[in-house]
């Protein structure tokens, strides 16, 4: 769905992403790995419009998206999560979920006044779906808590749930399992696989090789901002360049 062509981004002299080209066409779950500081998160930032590329092109479903603002990306069907989870701490867990759906009638002031019954109906539908998802994630009992009170792992689950709530075409996950306990990692993996079965497409940055290998069909490897390898999990695991990058 996404194609990145010769994208470069420089920060104060260092090239965070250097002439990178990736093609994710036809992939259900793609992985992005690389040592710390290899430009993975920057690449996500480039895709989601938080950072603009210096050069190169990014297309999503054949349309150019580089240079668009972050809030346009969600409308196009691109939602991401963050490495350090960014739930809304002073919103309840339920509200964190309910905020995600796109083009809500109740978010427009005029519709709020004139189409109130429709707003209520939408809310009810969203709530039903949110309950279902929270249940799957095992955090339904926390629905009326401030999201900021959740444990780190729960916040990451919530962030995933929130991304799913938005019904995007593609979800970009930035280290979904980093720093959370094994039980929650399992929940996370189950959730991702379940969503995959429903046809959801993912692009995942991940350090945990087990998770990557288990989930991804194809893996891209970045080092110093450059793509050094791509291929199936098996190919990547045996690629000397990749091994060198990780050890060196």
């Amino acid at each position: 769905m996404i194609e990145i062509r010769n994208v470069t981004k420089t920060f104060g002299g260092t090239r965070a992403v250097a002439d990178c080209s990736l093609n994710l066409e036809g992939l259900k779950i793609a992985g992005l790995i690389g040592p710390n500081g290899s430009g993975k998160t920057t690449l996500f930032n480039l895709i989601t419009g938080l950072v603009r590329p210096d050069s190169g092109e990014i297309t999503f479903q054949g349309k150019r998206i580089d240079g668009k603002l972050p809030h346009h990306m969600a409308a196009l069907g691109l939602i991401r999560t963050f490495q350090l989870s960014r739930v809304f701490p002073r919103l309840t867990v339920m509200d964190n979920m309910l905020i995600a759906p796109q083009r809500q009638t109740g978010e427009r002031l005029l519709s709020l006044l004139f189409q109130f019954p429709k707003v209520r109906m939408e809310e009810a539908n969203h709530r039903e779906k949110a309950v279902e998802l929270l249940d799957m994630l095992g955090i339904i009992h926390l629905h009326d808590q401030f999201a900021g009170n959740l444990s780190y792992g729960q916040q990451k689950l919530l962030e995933l749930g929130r991304a799913v709530m938005a019904e995007p075409k593609m979800i970009l996950l930035d280290e979904p399992t980093a720093g959370i306990n094994p039980r929650l990692i399992q929940t996370m993996k189950d959730m991702i696989l379940k969503m995959k079965a429903c046809g959801q497409i993912f692009f995942i940055i991940e350090h945990n090789m087990d998770v990557v290998v288990e989930l991804c069909e194809k893996i891209f490897v970045l080092d110093h901002g450059e793509k050094i390898a791509e291929g199936s999990p098996l190919e990547i695991q045996n690629d000397p360049l990749v091994i060198e990058a990780y050890l060196g």
């Binding site: 998160t41 930032n45 938080l50 963050f82 490495q83 350090l84 960014r86």
Partner: protein, 291 residues
């Protein structure tokens, strides 16, 4: 008075006002850089600095000026450190609105404390008034000369400290990223404390110079602080040189403007420049993304 000295004197007035604004703005910027919030109580450090000197030179202490100034500055620095210790330290993890409101509360408290002791009336250090030196038709008093010289010294001092010393390096690291700085073994608390001390010293110096040149009242801090805010905005957030430039630009602009527009709008000049800068260069103040 013929034309050239008339304009030159205006420029001089502008530079004088600008130096004072710049000293205040630099102090603000320093704290902003390290703790990421606008210290609304900075004006009260300015005012108390001036009043500490007033206290030191009047009965029962009656210290001579050369002894009183260091004493006043040290007490101002202590006040700054105390502010941090009592109020801002417990709020290190708090969000910025909380910090901001705490600072406003502190500023109320300190300003009215001064009013309680000295009343709302104007006070002076009581030095004899004398006519300024005349120099190519320009008038400059010793106090004004002191403002310019001492401001330059302070600026150079801050430059050396910020860009050439270990302490400055830590401060800049803190300014870039608090968490990262903490991880990389910088003594964050010590660095923050020194930022407070330096910021307070700048405030104290500025306050004393201002009071020497004019006089003292409990609101002297706030009235000038608003301009210092504008100066930091014009110069760019958390940027020492920007604060300096912003201060001088405001000082010059508002004084020159007085000659041409109704002086009733003098205070508006700083804000109009600020708006123009915001419209033309919005990016100077954006940034601050966590990723």
């Amino acid at each position: 008075m013929d034309s050239l000295p008339y304009y030159l004197q205006t420029v001089l007035n502008g530079v004088l006002a600008g130096c004072i604004y710049a000293l205040f703005a630099m102090g603000l910027t320093l704290i902003y850089g390290v703790l990421n919030f606008v210290n609304f109580a900075h004006g009260e450090l300015i005012m108390w600095g001036a009043y500490f000197l007033f206290l030191a030179i009047s009965e029962p202490f009656a210290l001579p000026l050369y002894a009183a100034i260091p004493v006043a500055l040290v007490i101002t620095a202590l006040l700054g450190a105390a502010m941090d210790f009592a109020v801002f330290r417990p709020l290190r993890q708090a969000n910025r609105l909380t910090l901001l409101i705490a600072a406003i509360g502190l500023s109320f408290f300190l300003r009215n404390a001064a009013q309680l002791f000295w009343g709302a009336e104007v006070q002076t250090y009581g030095f004899e008034i004398r006519q300024g030196y005349q120099w190519f038709g320009l008038y400059l008093t010793p106090q004004q000369l002191a403002i310019i010289v001492i401001s330059v010294i302070c600026i150079i001092g801050v430059y050396l400290l910020f860009f050439k010393s270990r302490m400055g390096k830590s401060m800049r690291a803190l300014a870039d990223n608090l968490d990262l700085a903490r991880i990389s073994g910088i003594h964050t608390e010590r660095t923050i404390l020194s930022a407070w001390v330096i910021s307070s010293l700048l405030a104290g110096v500025g306050g004393i110079l201002l009071a020497l040149d004019t006089n003292l009242n409990p609101e002297m801090g706030v009235t000038n602080l608003i301009k210092a805010f504008a100066a930091t905005l014009i110069g760019g957030v958390g940027n020492i040189w920007g604060a300096l430039a912003g201060g001088i630009i405001i000082g010059l602009a508002e004084n020159i403007a007085v000659l041409f527009i109704s002086p009733g709008y003098k205070d508006a000049v700083a804000f109009v420049i600020m708006v123009l800068i915001l419209l033309v260069r919005p990016y100077v103040v954006i940034g601050e993304r966590r990723d």
